[in-house]
Symmetry: D2
Subunit: 340 residues, 4 copies
């Protein structure tokens, strides 16, 4: 199969995720990595060395320098998606945007509008959809024997290292913004339903004392369109000694069955003099090539760009998730259920 023109991809943001996506494109036979941009000189230097492509300080400079770019992967902080995504979409680039699409409905809709106007395709990076465990259960739930879903409960937490060390912008986010797009997406995608109302509560005590002015933990209760219920619990204050940085446990009850997922404990426990850890295999290297769930996601983005059929979460879906998480925060602020 020969493609008249392989997608020419730029990456916006050179942190952990941006670098990983850039490497993925670089290693992919059906796409070309054109350039990367990041405001930090140190980050630019590091990526220039490892990737061997031009690096730029901002998206405008990059797009001007590379008018041949046809696609962009957006890996900036969550709250900073809008400007760069709109800039890319306005020039007609297809987009893979890290979840959530944006952290306000206004921003999300602006990205969607820009993409609609230019005809860009937008894919939102709900990467759990590339986890074979969820794929398999989604297939099983679609079969009649499972019956309809009754209730879902998702616990997705991080240790306090994430808001205090890993993210410089945690105070502009929350456990709800950072974690619930993942869990809410799964509840919708696994069972084919969507939320119609949300009620949320939270606690704000530990992180402010640690200098990060955001929620410690949020619990959100959703009514779904099919009459089932969804509970999402997300905390950002687990102790750093926890066996993995994230704690991800999911359960689905249907009319006939129950599924329990333990995603953070992936089968290998190490006890060493420093403590106990659950080894993680989400992204790993094999014969010099990255493998794993986000790599598969980026590969499907490239496949779609090359004309292959892929069922991918689009901008409208991204807007729906953003609206739902926005409503979580509205419920936290008002103490009342919020319609969706």
């Amino acid at each position: 199969m020969v493609f008249p023109a392989r997608p020419q991809v730029v990456v916006v943001g050179g942190g952990i995720r941006g670098s990983m996506f850039a490497t993925t494109v670089l290693q992919h036979p059906d796409a070309v990595l054109v350039a990367l941009c990041d405001p930090s000189p140190a980050v630019r230097d590091r990526n220039a060395t490892t990737l061997g492509v031009p690096v730029h300080a901002d998206v405008e400079t990059m797009l001007s320098a590379h008018p041949d770019a046809t696609a962009a992967i957006i890996a900036t902080p969550d709250f900073a998606h809008r400007d760069v995504a709109v800039a890319c979409a306005s020039r007609g680039l297809d987009l893979l945007v890290e979840k959530p699409l944006a952290t306000t409905t206004e921003d999300a809709e602006a990205i969607r509008a820009a993409a609609e106007e230019s005809g860009s395709r937008v894919v939102v990076g709900f990467e759990n959809r590339w986890n074979q465990k969820f794929l398999e259960v989604r297939d099983q739930l679609a079969q009649a024997a499972a019956g309809r879903v009754v209730a879902q409960v998702v616990n997705l937490n991080d240790t306090r290292w994430v808001p205090t060390e890993m993210l410089s912008w945690a105070s502009k986010s929350s456990p709800a913004w950072f974690l619930m797009p993942h869990s809410l997406d799964l509840t919708m995608w696994l069972t084919g339903t969507h939320p119609v109302e949300v009620f949320a509560r939270g606690t704000k005590r530990v992180l402010p004392e640690l200098g990060v002015d955001t929620w410690d933990a949020v619990t959100a209760s959703f009514a779904m369109s099919d009459g089932s219920t969804v509970v999402l619990n997300s905390s950002w204050v687990l102790p750093e000694t926890a066996p993995s940085v994230f704690d991800f446990r999911y359960e689905v009850q249907t009319e006939s069955s129950v599924y329990h997922f333990d995603i953070s404990h992936d089968g290998v426990t190490r006890y060493d003099p420093d403590g106990i850890s659950w080894l993680q295999f989400g992204v790993h290297e094999r014969h010099g090539r990255l493998r794993g769930v986000p790599i598969d996601m980026a590969s499907d983005f490239i496949a779609a760009l090359n004309g292959e059929e892929r069922d991918l979460p689009d901008a409208a879906y991204g807007c729906r998730i953003t609206a739902a998480i926005e409503a979580v925060h509205a419920s936290l602020a008002t103490g009342l259920p919020q319609p969706l």
Copy 2:
């Protein structure tokens, strides 16, 4: 230590729990089992044989026949506590009442009023307080190092066998009435806080089709007096192949720590040709005597009757729990948060 008069105990209700409590009293050196009553002739016969004490058809007959009774254990169905408890309390008997105290605030308050008037002591059977796992963690949480509680999530579910086979009166109850008094009590007792508001959702689909007109599953979100949050999830529709009849998982997050309890999986798994089971050790016999959590509870009731100091949940506390679960159902009915 010599007691001028050991408590003379009657038991109301001769089902699984009533029989167990009667046996407990019978085996206890510091109390006397006087009689038992139950409306079912078969149940009366069985208890007469195993216990060797008089059995009666109703509480009035029993109390008239045994004016020397000083205490009663109430083990009727949840919704049927009021009349028998009031009858006993009015005559000045001290009471151990199975949780919940009643299933309406009106009933619960009637019991409390009757007891207050006659000076009866009322103990409500929140038996998890006698589980050493919770006792130990309660002690740890009371220490400064744990910090204040941030969030609690309790999953307490039953297989559908409980509402469809075990309980004849399931349609007058719900997973919230049957299970949440346990879980709510623990959240309050472990951390020294109480609920000030509740919001709840539920699904009603499977059990009505199975002929039991009640909720399949309920999720309730509580705001607590100390600013922390509590989520209670309770379902009555787990498949009957589940490894234990109940599924009880509890987690507490504090400012410094996290505790995870797995109560239903008690360390022994059996794989046999019929399936997989987790052996349960809540109540067992040793050298002809019952042991276990509810036995310890009944023993502490007897100890208190004999003048020993025991910290036991009283009628006012029972009324508070009943009011909270009533509010869960009000929230289910109105779709709005309910103050407590």
Copy 3:
């Protein structure tokens, strides 16, 4: 039931276990704690304060001072049972001896002989027999549906804290001497069989470097009298960060079923800033009284002394276990299977 004379109990050894047993006797209504002996002045002082009974420096002095003693609990280091047990047995005292009865067949037989001559009763403290989990499975295995046992595998390990910190006499013991009496006893008692041959291997590398000249880890393969197999694995070098000091996992395969026990993980996990721990409930206090598996064992010893029927491991059985563990070490030394 009135006893003409309650057992008058002395305790030999005032360490963790000796103190615990002394307290148990002190709190028991059907026995009298007479005295305790220990060579360490500090240990004596501590026990004198907490127990309020006479303390002595050695067993001879104690026995001379208390000629009324009728029973002894032996809680000295494993290798030091013989002299004190023989001293007590020779005077006709009934004995509860911590497992193993002794660490040479010669010592074990000497204790047995002394007891036989004087008519003393000897009970060896295989305390897992008082763990309800094993009691219940033993009952189930005795039923026809389980079929005969095919294979048993027992992992019973300690962190290196036990040989390097907890035991001053670890170099005179080994993971096989310290741990396998427990696991071997269970394999015999649960399934009603006994070993006829053993083959063992081990590694000696870590503990010698830490100054304790004994085996790091031993694996022993037993042929049982009924044709089934038993594998015992015991290590003394787990990292100190392990979630509990001991790691105890047991599996039994029968002709129809499989049982898996996880004894060290007792349902509660704590994550705190210092690490991860599994809370342990083997011994705990309730209303000022000790409870737990070794307390039940000591109580049954007292019950037996008072004439009640109890099925308890005796000196002959203790000799058999000692011979088996001795043969483990013989196999380690010779590289050959050892008949039993």
Copy 4:
């Protein structure tokens, strides 16, 4: 990258594994599937339909019909590798042979000799080496911080469905022949050591009664070249209600650390009306292409055929494993340790 000639691959055996490997080759861009052979007409028909390549009744016919074949994948029953592997190797075909290479040292050496004479490359399919969990831990164990290995214990069992239903040739195999090549390979490959002596025991009771004359369960104790110990436990009589067909738990103790693997429980539990299952993701399809551990293994075989560097288990290694498992059976027969 252009290869002057892609490997032309034939597959010997069209069962579950043979079909899977054939599909893998068919889907691989760098290899050509030439033909498949199987003695069963039904199996041939099925593969002809799904694969669209010529199918033959035996290997000689196939090789004569396809003189251009350059490589063969051998997926016959374990005991039937020799003749077909020698036939292929004699013609100079490179081989991927399912583990174990053969079930007698004589057979294994014959394959090795044929391959050496013709210059064929032989790869033995120890597929766990393509499991990322083991790959990662192998890397960690190679680092100085882990210290040297002290002990390994591997439990690898199957439900009785495998010998009684899945394999028609189970009576010519055993749990040791079928399962221990996997576990022994891992112990050697993970830690860089090899066995120097083995002692084994087993039970033969359930399977003979079920009409399969082989061992129910075998336990083997290995002395390794570096002084560490290895215990392998393999049973073929787990109840069919077990949550997965295989039960695979592995632990490694080193001088500083412990690793626990639970391979059979891969994070998702399903409770449905038929029982409890752990979903398995070893092989799955994505966008019409197979993925998973054996697929990666076959791909690396193809990569090696195409000249890429791969570290693969060869015929000499396969002979060593076969000799070790043969010695397990010799120890079972003689009751004595066997040197290796």
